[in-house]
Structures are given as structure tokens and as C-alpha cells.
């Protein structure tokens, strides 16, 4: 362990261009993060398409805490805690299903899928008991932006709209790629476990500096053309949206090449049904622009990552353990497109993914390295001298610059010292 004061002083651990290694490895800091980040800010939980029908539910999480994402009998989205308020028993042991009530297997207390206690077994011992006092725990605030469901354990605070800020434009850009403007996350998630702190993953998602090295093996054996996006000649940008949200903006490169679906490594002839549907929905000019720009590469702090063709959810489990949940993006009204999205996603991500297995190896080596005493500080200076503001006032830099990482840590320091 590194030398640490009894109470971490975050101002002395996070500097504008360097961070202290203990931020990744100290158990007390992890516990602080749960309280000050995961149980306070807006956290992505799931998508409306995962509970399409009344009474559908699916088990999700906010940090290490399991959450039942429910669409109740009236169709309203709810986030319930999976804990019987009687003796604390895990209420629901299934990952998903459709039911109007949840009954605890221990003493048979039964709850409506709105979270209200509706019945006791052996009721004669509970005379005069007010059932309203024994409902399920709830995530107090739910916010939904274009189908993306976020929850916050804080009763008060910024609205989801204020929190997402400039990152909303990335979600809009994403949904423009559906002829019907909607996502359907129906392919199920891969769950990739990593012995590393969650922030290494967060920082890597919009790091354009590493692919040329970490992914050189796949660039060498497949002619995807992706490798060129991450080299010093690329016109792609990194951007800090504020609030910890960051992106790797590939549009400058795609616009320079000016070919629809080039971003997806294909062309209009290969996806005729999709191109027809897009043209019908948006008109030829706008459809062409959407298909040139492609989808975003955006990390919404602290846990939602849209990686062009995939959706990742980062779940911290412990100071040295994180799970990445990942699925193929599926666009409503685009079956031929969706099939390719699934095939490419299955090849690249998850425990055996040709790309993500190497990222995950780096996270684990990052984590082991961070525990070594010397040097204590890790540097984030790349591109500092050429950082600038775009027309919206967001900080931007070259695709290989550490603009996103500095932005993440600025936001982190605000949250941890609030």
C-alpha cells in the first residue's frame, strides 16, 4: 500500500495533469466513490426496450447494488431494490421475467410490482400494522432520455437533462441511425469480469492513444481500416462535454472520406433494405449525411459507453473488480443492419472478443502496476498545449490527446469534494 493520510484529501490526489495511484487501489476511496458518485449522481440503469410489456422486469444494478428494473401493470418504469424489508432476504432470484407481484420465499411477504406490500402470510400476528411502512426500497429519482433509463439515489440534484448536457447530442446522433428513431436492446448481454478498478475502464473508453498499440494484432490480420483513425494523421477529435462525459469524435474523418456506411466498414450496396428505410424516413440528403457520420463513440459518466456498434455498461464490484456488460446495438426497423451489428459485436467484445480481450488485459496490468509504490503519480499531459475550445465551448484535442481523461478527473474532483 502507498502512504496515505487517514482521510483522503482528494485535492492533493487529483491534479490537472496527474493523478495519484492510490485513487485506483485504496479501499476507502472506493467506498467514498460509492457514496459520492454511484449513490448520488445519475447512473445509467437500462433501456425501455428491455422491459417492453407491462409487468416485465429485469435485474440491473447501480454500482454493486442490484436493482429491479420494472415496468409495472400500468406501464410505468420503476427501479426497486431487490430486498425484502422484513428480514432482508433477496426477493427475486431470476434475471428477468413477467410478473405482477414478487413474493419473498422466506416468510411469504408479497409485494406488488409497484413496490407496495400487499400481503402477509399468517396475518393474525400483524394486527394494526400499517403495510405502507413496509414497501420495497426504491431508487428515488428516475430519468429517461430517448429510451435510456437513468436512476439517482439522491432525492435532489440536477435534472437528468442538466446532467447529460452536451452528451445528449451523442444519444440523438445514435438514434438518428434508426429509420424509426429507436433502439431495441434485445440480443442479451455478455458479462466480462475484470480484476481492475472501474476508472481504468472509464478512462480507456475514449482514449484514442492506445488502439495503435493495444489492438495492433487485429489491425495486422484484418484490413478493417479502423487503425488509421487512431494514428497521428487522423482528423478525429477528442472532446470533453463536461460533467465527466467525453467522446472520441470520428465525424471529421468520415466526412473527409464522404462515403455512406464507411464508418461501419461497408457500403450502401450491402445494406439495400436499410438504405431504403433510412431514405424513406429522413429524405435522401439527410439520410446520406447520417450514414456518413455514423454513430457516436461516447462515454457518459460514470457508466454508459456507446461504442459505435455496441452499448457497454460499467459496473464496479470492488476496488479491484469491475464487470463490463455489453450488447450489440439494434435499431428498430433495420433487420439487415442489425444482423451485421450482432456479428461484428460478437467478434470484437466480451470475454473472447478480438478487441476487448486485449483492453481487459491492459486494465488488469494497469491495476497491478498502480499498486506498485514508485512512481506514485500517473501522468495525463498529452496534448495539453494544443487543447482548445470548439464552437460550443467544449474542450477538444487531437484524437490521440488526453483531453477526455483530464475532463473525467476534473469532474471526479468536483464530485469527491462536493
Amino acid at each position: 500500500m502507498l502512504h496515505m493520510p487517514k482521510t483522503p484529501d482528494y485535492r492533493s490526489l487529483v491534479e490537472p495533469t496527474r493523478v495519484h495511484s492510490s485513487l485506483y487501489t485504496d479501499e476507502r476511496i472506493f467506498q467514498d466513490e460509492l457514496e459520492r458518485i454511484w449513490y448520488r449522481t445519475w447512473v445509467y440503469v437500462g433501456h425501455v426496450s428491455e422491459v417492453p410489456n407491462p409487468n416485465d422486469y429485469v435485474t440491473k444494478s447501480i454500482g454493486p447494488t442490484p436493482v429491479l428494473l420494472v415496468r409495472d401493470r400500468a406501464g410505468e418504469i420503476r427501479l426497486l431494490l431487490n430486498k425484502c424489508p422484513h428480514r432482508g432476504n433477496q426477493l427475486c432470484a431470476y434475471r428477468r421475467g413477467n410478473r405482477t407481484t414478487f413474493t419473498c420465499p422466506y416468510h411469504s411477504w408479497t409485494f406488488s410490482n409497484t413496490g407496495d406490500l400487499i400481503g402477509f402470510a399468517f396475518a393474525d400476528g400483524y394486527e394494526g400494522c400499517d403495510k405502507r411502512q413496509f414497501g420495497l426500497g426504491k431508487v428515488p429519482r428516475i430519468g429517461i432520455y430517448r429510451g435510456f433509463i437513468f436512476g439517482s439515489f439522491a432525492e435532489d440534484g440536477p435534472s437528468l437533462d442538466e446532467y447529460l448536457g452536451g452528451a445528449k447530442a451523442s444519444l440523438d446522433q445514435l438514434l438518428d441511425n434508426s429509420p424509426e428513431g429507436e433502439l431495441e436492446l434485445t440480443a442479451g448481454f455478455l458479462q466480462h469480469r475484470t480484476k481492475a478498478n472501474w476508472k481504468f475502464i472509464l478512462e480507456n473508453e475514449t482514449d484514442g492513444y492506445h488502439p495503435a498499440f493495444v489492438h495492433s494484432s487485429i489491425f495486422q490480420v484484418s484490413d478493417s481500416g479502423i487503425g488509421k483513425l487512431y494514428d497521428p494523421r487522423s482528423s478525429a477529435l477528442t472532446r470533453d462535454f463536461g460533467n465527466g462525459h467525453t467522446e472520441f469524435d470520428l465525424r471529421p474523418e468520415w466526412r473527409r472520406l464522404d462515403k455512406p456506411l464507411q464508418w461501419f466498414g461497408t457500403n450502401e450496396g450491402r445494406l439495400p433494405d436499410y438504405v431504403r428505410a433510412m431514405t424513406g424516413a429522413y429524405g435522401p440528403e439527410r439520410a446520406r449525411q447520417i450514414m456518413i457520420d455514423g454513430t457516436p463513440h461516447t462515454m457518459i459518466f460514470p457508466n454508459l459507453f456507446i461504442a459505435e456498434i455496441q452499448l457497454f455498461v460499467i459496473q464496479p464490484i470492488a476496488v479491484d473488480e469491475t464487470i463490463q456488460h455489453v450488447t450489440a446495438l439494434q435499431f428498430k426497423g433495420a433487420p439487415d443492419f442489425n444482423r451485421r451489428l450482432r456479428q461484428q459485436t460478437m467478434g470484437s467484445v466480451g470475454p473472447a472478443g478480438l478487441l476487448l480481450a486485449d483492453d481487459t488485459e491492459m486494465y488488469e496490468r494497469n491495476h497491478r502496476g498502480a499498486a506498485i509504490r514508485d512512481p506514485e503519480w500517473l501522468t495525463l499531459t498529452r496534448g495539453l498545449h494544443r487543447e482548445r475550445r470548439d464552437e460550443n465551448g467544449y474542450l477538444i484535442g487531437h484524437s490521440t490527446d488526453e483531453v477526455p481523461q483530464r475532463g473525467i478527473w476534473r469532474h471526479y474532483l468536483e464530485l469527491m469534494t462536493a
Partner: protein, 184 residues
């Protein structure tokens, strides 16, 4: 020599009787032996990172499938850990051979056991086989034990078995799992 039941025959005894029944016993025993030898060969090539030799076991129309979230999902609609056709099997091997697939540099140290081999059915030049598998993996992270119920379709091609289909159903594939970058 006479026998009271087929199950009491040893292979050697059956061979000496000359009856049709005994011949079938002998053929079945020989077939199972060849199947087992093939599965052990594949296991050894995987454990020793003999990438080219392993790739050569596959037929041109092969499917290599490691499902997620259960054992009976639809890989054409749902996410799988691996769902490779022949060209992606090749890509997977080519990536390993670059020496820069970091998660396998250094390569995992592996030993696997193949057991409970069952011949499910025989159809023309193909046999459908089940087997359990236990893999001990040691790498930079530490030690991991992987268990799976495997299903194989083996096709006889020019007198030798080839892999036409392999399904590796990890028993814990509904839970988060560590990186699985060796040849499973």
C-alpha cells in the same frame, strides 16, 4: 464360447466369437476409441498452443460456438461469447500468431480434461458427440478453472475426423466471466 449378455463381453471375447453382434460391439468400441482419441488430440493442440494444427482440424463449413446466458440460446438473434464461422476461426488463429495479442502474451498455461464422452448418434459420415471438459488456466491474473459441457459434430474426411461444429457450453455462462482468450 457362449455369452449370456452382450454387456458381459469384453472386446477381446467379442472379437473371438465371430458373431454379427460381436462385430457390432467391436465396431462401436473402435468408433468410440477413435472419437476419444480425436478429442484428446484437439485438447492437446489447444493446451500446447499449436495454432496451425488446431485450425487444420476444422471443416470449411465449420461453426465454433460458445453461447452466453444459457445453453439453448439462438446465436443468430442473441449474443454469444464466440460464434465463429470458418473465416473468423482463421482470423482468431491469425491474431494469436502475431505474438501481439496481449492477453495471450505470455500465453496461458493450460491443462484440460475431457471426460464423459458419449456418442449421441451417427449420421452418414458424421458423428454427434457430447463430452464434459474441465480446463485449468494459469496466466498473469492468476488461476481460473473453466468447466463446460461440450457438443461436437465430427465428420470423417479422407479417413480422419474433422470438426464440423463445436459448442462449448460453459456451466457458468450466465454470470460474469474473466477473459477467455485461449483456444477453448
Amino acid at each position: 464360447m457362449s455369452s449370456t449378455s452382450a454387456s458381459s463381453l469384453t472386446l477381446a471375447e467379442a472379437a473371438s466369437t465371430g458373431s454379427d453382434h460381436a462385430h457390432r460391439q467391436e465396431d462401436a468400441g473402435e468408433l468410440m476409441h477413435r472419437i476419444e482419441q480425436f478429442l484428446y488430440l484437439e485438447a492437446r493442440l489447444q493446451d500446447t498452443h499449436a495454432y496451425d494444427d488446431w485450425e487444420a482440424l476444422w471443416t470449411d463449413d465449420a461453426i465454433y460456438w460458445v453461447p452466453a446466458n444459457g445453453h439453448d440460446t439462438d446465436p443468430e438473434r442473441e449474443m454469444s461469447i464466440i460464434y465463429d464461422n470458418r473465416s473468423r476461426i482463421r482470423l482468431r488463429v491469425e491474431q494469436l500468431k502475431t505474438g501481439r495479442h496481449h492477453t495471450q502474451t505470455p500465453p496461458s498455461n493450460l491443462a484440460r480434461l475431457i471426460s464423459n464422452v458419449e456418442l449421441v448418434r451417427q449420421e452418414g459420415d458424421e458423428v454427434h458427440v457430447r463430452a464434459n471438459m474441465l480446463v485449468f488456466e494459469d496466466n498473469l491474473r492468476g488461476e481460473t478453472i473453466w468447466a463446460a459441457r461440450n457438443e461436437y459434430t465430427l465428420r470423417m474426411v479422407e479417413g480422419a475426423f474433422r470438426l464440423a461444429r463445436k459448442k462449448v457450453a460453459l456451466v457458468n455462462n450466465h454470470k460474469p466471466i474473466f477473459t477467455l482468450s485461449f483456444l477453448v
